[in-house]
């Protein structure tokens, strides 16, 4: 009898302990950025941007449910791009990402990027192939990332993209990541965007990106909302 009472008490305590556990459900991830583009010479141009990622989740406890946002990182990017011909661009880039800003300045990430992009027009659709190599350096790891992205964009009104017009962008990117302290992973990113060109120097874009991480292993998927402002300073 004493055994059963003890067992029931233990189960009640365990139940209570379980019910106190927080359940965090990620609702969406928002990435926002502002980019400045400026020509340095006829063939060289620079692109500088700042961006952030925030993760919005619901935190459930036994008594209530709260909707919370957490800043995952702030970042700064700079690219130098050389135009080889009207269709081909080569770029070198550097990114500094301040991870978990709420934890202080301890978590950092540097990325060095080399990329080659080729543009091809099929009537009004512009297709861009982008091959990108990245060296990602974090506090605790080093990764080589190999990325290929195929994008297409088109104006929604007429055959040229003019001021005060909307445009659509669709893309898919395959990413292979070789990290020194973890297993290699494959990732797929599929994105659809709608943009608005206010004038030749300013556009606003909003997109949804579906990320399928480690799709050859224990797959995880995420939905990102991206917003971007693109300013041309020429």
């Amino acid at each position: 009898m004493r055994f059963f009472i003890t067992l029931i008490l233990c189960l009640c305590i365990a139940q209570e302990a379980l019910s106190q556990t927080e359940t965090i459900k990620t609702r969406f991830v928002w990435e926002g950025g502002t980019a400045l583009n400026y020509k340095v010479t006829d063939n060289w141009s620079f692109n500088t941007s700042i961006g952030k990622r925030s993760v919005w989740s619901t935190v459930e406890t036994n008594s209530n449910e709260e909707f919370e946002g957490e800043l995952a990182f702030l970042e700064f990017d700079h690219f130098a791009t050389y135009r080889f011909n009207p269709s081909t661009r080569g770029s070198l880039g550097y990114k500094y990402r301040w991870r978990d800003p709420s934890e202080g300045f301890g978590e950092y990430e540097h990325r060095i990027t080399q990329q080659l992009a080729h543009t091809h027009f099929k009537e009004i659709i512009r297709l861009v192939s982008r091959l990108r190599l990245e060296q990602r350096i974090r506090n605790e790891s080093f990764a080589m990332r190999y990325r290929y992205r195929l994008s297409a964009d088109l104006p929604l009104s007429g055959e040229t993209l003019d001021a005060r017009e909307f445009y659509l962008v669709g893309s898919n990117e395959i990413l292979f990541e070789a990290v020194d302290v973890e297993e290699d992973t494959w990732e797929s990113r599929t994105s659809g965007s709608i943009g608005y060109l206010f004038n030749p120097d300013l556009k606003l874009e909003m997109s949804l990106t579906y990320r399928l991480e480690n799709f050859t292993g224990s797959t995880e998927d995420f939905l990102f909302i991206n917003t971007g402002v693109f300013i041309n300073l020429n």
Binding site: D42, I50, E70, V229
Partner: protein, 194 residues
Amino acid sequence: MIIKTTLLWLVSICFSFSLLAQGKKMEREKRIRKEEIPAVALTLLNNPLGKARKVKYFLETDGDNKSFEIKFLLHRNQYSVEFDSEGRLEDVEVLISFGKLNKDIRKNVTDHLGQYDNFKVKKTQKQFSSQSQTAEEVIKMALEDLPAETVRYEMIVETKAGSTWTTYEMLFDDQGNFISQKEVIGRLEDNILY
């Protein structure tokens, strides 16, 4: 922290929108409905449009100037017919292959382009127009590829001078002699490159 960064980002957007105040003269092409095209223009093209495919109607504005354009596919040829704001015919263009132009015309064009270190002809259109012939006659000549009073060639050409590539819309006469050019500004690509 998250509220501050969100606010900072919104401020940067507001700053960007202030750039809208910069006034620039803008060319604009907009797809429109058939009903918005002047009736006189539609009447002129009544016959070919009945057999055409992929018919599209556009309004072009450049400052105070306004024109209409009708594009269609007929007998595997891509036509583009331009009218002024009153519906009067300006010209008829048909997309052709540069390689299929008469040898002498090609030679004159390539001689002119020979001043550049390199070039690529990306698009060629044969342009039919006339001051004395009627609009119906010009349209008939364009559709049947007969010699109209004025025939010109409009080409999109990528040229390389030194290490710099520039894209031009060039106009040549019926013999391939250069008439004029204007630079073509391509679609911004920062959103698709990075």
